[in-house]
């Protein structure tokens, strides 16, 4: 009787050990053995979704397993970013994180921030431009600055929601010129497209969204881009100068997108992913796709990506505090 019980117990223990030993071995050695879920915190069809889908299709080709892009939308990205951070760190759930991850925690919207992930690769970065209506009297960005200084509070700007990336871009720019961040009141909008329409309709004076977002209206001749907030000019719009060239100030900012997994991703899974992402980034398919849409490409390996996020986090924090939208 006793013998039998011991036997049973040891058999259970043995199988438990075997089970424990088996699972990580399978996860590590042969990853991926089943489809991988790729979470996108933004809606289908948008810039983040398009970028994620091209990256996922290239990963799929390289890794030999389906990469399922899943849009977990809502709450201005909070829901999807949380889903990536909270996923099981087995390599079967990764996702695309965006600049909002170093902004939302300052507003107290989420506890997750840049350090809540295993960064894998930074792949895209789009700086904002300073857009005005096609028939406005401002010939260049200096005219705009003069108008802002002459009548503080009169010009209105838009481009995204309250406290969004382009709002911070505007506020940081004003601060860099020694002005108060609310010298140009922000008109919240549901994204860049409605803001550009409102610009064309004469509802607002300035839109500080990214150049690819403004492109349709720029190409249609309904708006003009006066400057970009990046270190160098955009190859797709070589005639648009940088803020540094025009005003001699050092304010640069960008909306970026990168790939990350939940914290504690096994090192070999991470290494395999980074190698595959590097291949995807260098591929002609990716570069052509991004160039065609006017999306900027930039590569950051895990360390570079982490450093980039940490620097951005500090930058966003200081501007958002000045704007009064960061929680103490």
């Amino acid at each position: 009787m006793l013998k039998r019980r011991t036997f049973l117990a040891s058999a259970t223990a043995a199988s438990a050990v075997a089970g424990l030993g088996f699972k990580p071995a399978r996860a590590q050695a042969a990853w991926p053995t089943r489809p991988v879920t790729f979470i996108v915190p933004w809606g289908a069809g948008g810039g983040t979704d398009q970028t994620a889908r091209i990256v996922a299709s290239l990963l799929e080709k390289d890794l030999g397993q389906p990469i399922n892009v899943v849009n977990r939308t809502g709450g201005s990205g909070v829901v999807g970013h949380a889903a990536i951070a909270q996923a099981a760190p087995d390599g079967y759930t990764i996702g695309m994180i965006t600049v909002e991850i170093v902004m939302m925690h300052w507003q107290g919207l989420t506890e997750f921030k840049d350090t809540s992930y295993t960064p894998l690769a930074l792949m895209n970065s789009d700086p904002p431009g300073v857009q005005v209506k096609a028939d406005s009297s401002y010939k260049n960005v200096k005219d705009v600055v003069a108008a802002i200084k002459a009548n503080p509070g009169k010009l209105k700007a838009s481009g995204t929601g309250q406290g969004g990336i382009w709002h911070v871009a505007l506020a940081g720019w004003l601060q860099a010129m020694g002005l108060k961040p609310d010298t140009v009141p922000w008109v919240p909008s549901n994204g860049a497209a409605p803001a550009m329409q409102d610009l064309a309709a004469g509802g607002v004076d300035i839109v500080t969204c990214s150049v690819p977002e403004a492109r349709a209206m720029l190409d249609a001749g309904k708006a003009r881009s006066l400057a970009v907030m990046s270190p160098g000019r955009n190859p797709a719009f070589p005639n648009v100068p940088t803020l540094k060239e025009e005003l001699g100030i050092d304010w640069t900012i960008s909306a970026w997108r990168g790939i990350a997994g939940p914290p504690g991703l096994p090192a070999n899974v991470g290494a395999k992913l980074v190698a595959s992402l590097d291949k995807a980034y260098k591929s002609k398919d990716f570069q052509e796709f991004m160039a065609q849409r006017g999306f900027g490409t930039v590569w950051g390996d895990p360390q570079g990506f982490a450093k980039h996020m940490a620097a951005d986090d500090a930058k966003m924090g200081s501007v958002m505090k000045a704007l009064g939208i960061a929680k103490a």
Binding site: G43, A44, G45, G46, V70, N71, R72, T73, G74, G75, S76, V78, V79, A82, Q107, L109, T110, G153, K156, S158, G161, Q162, G163, G164, P185, W186, V187, P188, S189, N190, A193, P194, Q197, D198, A200, A201, G202, G203, V204, A216, A220, I325
Partner: protein, 496 residues
């Protein structure tokens, strides 16, 4: 010309044509099946259209909804049970015709004048929408604010029995719209720390709940789901329709025009169009005494009206993002998912898709004639599908559909809650459509009000300063004033 060619290229794709055929069959089945409505057909299509390119996705919705509205006539005539609410107005009339041995004439009138009404509505859509879009390009938040106010006012007209209940339904919808982070101040409201609520209540999930789950609940709570055997249809269907066309030209045009107009009014759709035109048909008829005894005149007029409304509803949906009925409320959601944000700019940025969409409208209403004929001929088989098997399957589709919107089980919970709310509301005479109007228009109202106040530095005068805004503003205030005056007079006790 380039646009027309590009649109033709988009439509002539065998895949798109295949989708049109499939969704025709789907729409006819759902419409003919009592308890499944055209809105439900659209809601159930959403997760599938998710993964299609925009043109086939929209083609599926257009075809299925147009077919479903017509097919609702079939069980109305053969069983005296309307297949969709849009056929309810003349169900008794059609059934009376069937009893007189005129089922063929009633159903034939249904399909022929549905197609004519649908084409009439499409012609109005094709001419009016781009022209309106041209004007709307110059709209800023001030104009949109008034437009949304006017749209919300329509909730009163949707509620046919009680204006108070209509307004309460509207405000419940506005309350739902408060939830989440997506407001101008970007402050989480009514989220109670729940991350899933940050994104707010998804409109499509709420609609699957209110229009499909509520219906499934009603069905499972019914004692017997089996339908009685339908009356047979044997004779030729199109015989005599040409005579009807020559006899009732005024009715056809009046029905189509009123139907298109009601469709274009925010929130009011095919069902209201058919009630109103059945009434106008009777009022202006030379033989009103024949109504209710199996007289085809009313069927001609309101049969045309309900399909005209389906097309008309797309006018405000495409141009302003304001839903003309509950089907286009879902369409707006789908457009956003496809990154085809409705608004005047869509006519500039994606003209080929708009032209393709218009072509699909014509196509759908033309193929309605042969497909409708088939559906009428196979009515017996369609109505023999056991509903006790169908309803649980619909429930499962709803679950998967609600999940697919944002891949979260939370969405299924949202659907469940709204299913119960929709069920309770309908039991108590609260119209459901204003809730949808509130959910869609609430964020627009707040957004346009707050941004206008920021632009005007807090001055209300700006709401009247721009010429179009001023005109819209004065109209809105006049409508409200008129309604308040009427309401007050109704409250005052009549002196004896």
């Amino acid at each position: 010309m380039d646009t027309a060619l590009a649109a033709l290229y988009l439509i002539a794709d065998p895949y798109v044509l295949f989708i049109i055929v499939l969704s025709s069959a789907f729409g006819l089945f759902v419409g003919a099946m009592p308890g499944l409505t055209a809105t439900m057909a659209t809601a159930l299509l959403v997760p599938i259209t998710f993964f299609m390119p925009p043109v086939p996705a929209l083609a599926a919705i257009v075809t299925a909804s147009a077919m479903a509205i017509f097919a609702g006539d079939i069980p109305g005539a053969l069983l005296r049970i309307p297949g969709t609410p849009a056929s309810a107005a003349y169900t008794d009339e059609a059934y009376a015709m069937t009893l007189k041995g005129q089922a063929e004439l009633a159903l034939g009138a249904g399909v022929v004048f549905s197609a004519i009404g649908g084409i009439f509505g499409t012609i109005v859509l094709v001419t009016a929408a781009p022209a309106l879009a041209e004007v709307a390009l110059r709209f800023s938040s001030f104009e949109y604010f008034w437009l949304v106010c006017l749209g919300l006012t329509c909730a009163v007209f949707i509620a046919q029995d009680s204006a108070i209940k209509g307004m309460i339904a509207l405000f419940l919808g506005l309350t739902v719209a408060l939830i989440g982070l997506d407001n101008p101040a970007a402050v989480p409201r009514f989220t109670f720390g729940v991350t899933d609520l940050m994104g707010g209540i998804d409109m499509i999930q709420a609609m699957i709940g209110m229009f499909a789950i509520a219906e499934v609940l009603r069905a499972v709570a019914a004692a017997n789901l089996r339908l009685p055997p339908p009356k047979p249809v044997s004779g030729p269907i199109f015989k005599g329709q040409w005579l009807l066309t020559k006899k009732y030209p005024v009715q056809i045009i009046r029905g189509s025009a009123i139907g298109t107009l009601i469709g274009a009014l925010p929130g009011a759709g095919a069902d209201i169009a058919s009630w109103i035109t059945y009434a106008t048909s009777k009022r202006f008829s030379k033989e009103p005494e024949k109504f209710g005894t199996g007289h085809v005149e009313g069927i001609v007029e309101s049969g045309a009206a309900n399909n005209a409304a389906v097309s008309g509803a797309w006018i405000p949906a495409l141009v302003f993002g304001i839903p003309g009925d509950s089907i286009t409320a879902i369409v707006i959601g789908v457009l956003y998912l496809k990154n085809l944000n409705p608004g005047p700019t869509i006519f500039l940025e994606k003209p080929e898709i708009i032209t393709a969409l218009f072509t699909v409208f014509f196509l759908a209403n033309i193929v309605m004639i042969p497909f409708g004929w088939l559906a009428i001929k196979s009515a017996k088989q369609i109505l023999a599908v056991p509903r006790e098997v169908l309803m649980p399957i619909v429930l499962m589709f709803c679950i998967v559909g609600a999940f697919a919107i944002n891949n979260s089980p939370f969405g299924i919970g949202v659907m469940l809650v709204f299913g119960v709310i929709g069920f309770l509301m309908e039991d108590n005479g609260f119209p459901v459509a204003p809730v949808i109007l509130g959910i869609v228009l609430g964020p627009m109202l707040e957004q346009n009000f707050v941004t206008s106040m920021i632009k005007s530095d807090g001055s209300f005068l700006f709401f009247f300063e721009r010429p179009i805004a001023g005109m819209l503003g004065v109209t809105t205030l006049a409508v409200w004033g008129g309604m308040a005056w009427k309401g007050l007079r109704a409250l005052r006790p009549v002196p004896a």
